[in-house]
Symmetry: C2
Subunit: 228 residues, 2 copies
Amino acid sequence: MRVGVLGTGRVGRAIAARLAELGHEVVVGTRDPTATMTRTEPDGMGNPPFRTWAEAHPQVRGGSFADAAAASEVIVNATSGAGSLPSLTAAGEDNLAGKVLLDIANPLDFSAGMPPTLLVKDTDSLGEQIQRAFPQAKVVKTLNTMNALVMVHPDRVPGDHSVFVAGDDANAKQTVMNLLHGFGWSADNIVDLGGIRSARGVEMYLPLWLSLRQALGTGDFNINVVRA
Amino acid sequence: MRVGVLGTGRVGRAIAARLAELGHEVVVGTRDPTATMTRTEPDGMGNPPFRTWAEAHPQVRGGSFADAAAASEVIVNATSGAGSLPSLTAAGEDNLAGKVLLDIANPLDFSAGMPPTLLVKDTDSLGEQIQRAFPQAKVVKTLNTMNALVMVHPDRVPGDHSVFVAGDDANAKQTVMNLLHGFGWSADNIVDLGGIRSARGVEMYLPLWLSLRQALGTGDFNINVVRA
């Protein structure tokens, strides 16, 4: 498929590299492509300059948010929580209309230091905000409950463990589940939570994820839903 | 041990019955014991009248919140989220001082219907509120991430799955872990999240738990933390 990945951080890079490896046509979008490609310092999260990554992944094209969205059937939101709505606005409502919008972003607010708080919660979610802002896009929330390496290589964590999907459009969820299968997620380990409203639960899981990362001393873990 | 269980709902009954079965001396506390024992209708959550349960569990004593707390080394808060601070106040600060306070309550607000929202979240938690209100009690948050039957009979759910503990006092956490072992939780499946601040994560997990219950069509499930 043609997939536009918005965001050049750890998550965007992991998703884009894995999709390209699996034979998809990938365009990575960023706010200011020239600035992104000329930067020679690590980014704000300590990732190496994007240019280094891009040179190692010549099969991935780069461009603006709008370039990535216009070129693609599926758009992946891998921007920050605070940056999601502005980035998607820059991608262009028309470029998102009718398309699958796979939303991985977590609405974390790091402005008061660690641990982060949530920009939206409880009676609303970022997934729902995005769906409301872009009603013609088919938003599917998924993959936000684990670190980037586990998202695209679930076999890093042994045995069964779960990935959640939430969205209002059944066909869009099926498209996303097919991409998840490609990453290595078995059908039994994909939990369909229902409509996009269920984004609340998976976003509000983040404080527990952060506690677990601290307690376990690693982000290389996931949770498995076990039924009686 | 001598354990006071505050609350006569589904969770209080399950915990009290299991503790008594395991040979602990249990007093169940309620706001108004006479009213609780004379009621012949199901309670607000559809549970059979407490009197019926009490007659089937003659080894469990009943009393006021203060009776239950005064008689006990460990106090279990199995009241509702909204009722927790008033119930603990009725139990009496002096009756809680120096004791282990095992807190299972979830700060759920059902006043606007289903799904409930959270009365406290993100930058605070009910566990922390209780610890601040009763600084001489040793609050340990645990068991709030699953239904009552799974709490006390973890073997209802097959294989490995996790229970979390959070609290500032290491000895109190050890006492709680010993009680959990008695219920059937293996040491490997008890995840120590650190201080009581981590109550935020386990309380904010509830919206995901509620989504999962709806998606799975049962509350008989739990999550297992799987490490790479």
